[in-house]
Symmetry: C2
Subunit: 169 residues, 2 copies
DNA sequence: TATTGTTATACTCTATAACTATA
DNA sequence: TATAGTTATAGAGTATAACAATA
């Protein structure tokens, strides 16, 4: 849009530090460290899941349905960090592929009660192994105590933030 | 596309567990815990940065330029987890707002040497406080030792994964 | 031949709002 | 009036490939 590259001070030749990068202030940002690690791991998972031709979120959705048979789509949206509208397409896909079933709740007929089919259970477990394998070397590089610490800190941090975001504080 | 909602077994009324959700297999997935926490923190940061009318990545870019004056755009892309093409728009914006300068490297004239202006330094520090504040209660909920552990584990996990993704293993 | 910066493009993901049916 | 599910749409972010300049 505004390609003015002929000012005297803009194209000036300068010399600065062209060595290895340091993180500076970003080193103390939890969100930044989280994102950097997740970007790398997420790319691996996308790669590993590619053969299954399922959209992102399908595996998480299947795993949560398996752990909570009969749950509703809003339950899944909340727990999986997605919007409820995004879940429609995911559940559509799972149903069309014969991996999940949309039943109707007997108690509240607005809600869908979601279940995995045997095929869905099987595929979910297979994808879990794929996903878990992308983190294998991290687990191998950590001691069992460190793994426990890591999950504990992640869980506590999440609870702190989630609790604050709920009420009208 | 295929809205067949009249099979007898699809709309069947069923009853399942409609209580609180559990994570099941997802509880042991590092990537899932990372994403859940980051989704929450990211929303806070987006919210806090809204008044500045800068695109996501602009703050990270400024902070990394400040820590590495004279760095190039590919340096920033690699360190910030972005594509180099995404950085063009960000640096364009920073330059147009008078927050950063694109100099030309004297050693390698393909490279831009990036610097923050005094205004850029000032704004970057202000935004750092905003971002840091979104994580305040996590830090307050952790002991100093736990904070150190948390960053240490995050850093080690990142190094493990990053090291594997580089060579042709 | 490889790399930096750039542009254009296509694609995906997400966010929003509106609508329905139920409560 | 509020909630669950659905749909449509617009917007933002990302990835890809191609190109020019330089190494």
């Amino acid at each position: 849009m505004t390609g003015t590259a002929d000012e005297p001070d803009k194209g000036a030749e300068v010399s600065g530090n062209e060595d290895r990068m340091v993180l500076g202030l970003m080193a103390t940002r939890i969100g930044f460290r989280l994102r950097m690690l997740q970007t790398l791991l997420g790319a691996r998972v996308v790669n590993g899941f590619a053969p299954y031709k399922l959209r992102p979120g399908a595996f998480t959705t299947m795993a949560l349905i398996a752990a909570n048979p009969g749950c509703s789509q809003v339950d899944l949206a909340r727990e999986g960090g997605l919007d409820k509208s995004a879940l429609v397409a995911i559940v559509d896909e799972l149903e069309q592929r014969g991996l999940a079933i949309r039943g109707r709740s007997a108690k509240d007929r607005r809600r869908n009660s979601l279940f995995l089919t045997p095929d869905g259970e099987k595929l979910m477990k297979e994808m879990y192994r794929v996903a878990h394998d992308t983190e294998r070397t991290i687990r191998e590089g950590f001691s069992p105590e460190e793994i426990t610490q890591f999950f504990g800190l992640l869980e506590r941090a999440y609870q702190i933030v989630a609790r604050e975001d709920l009420p009208a504080s």
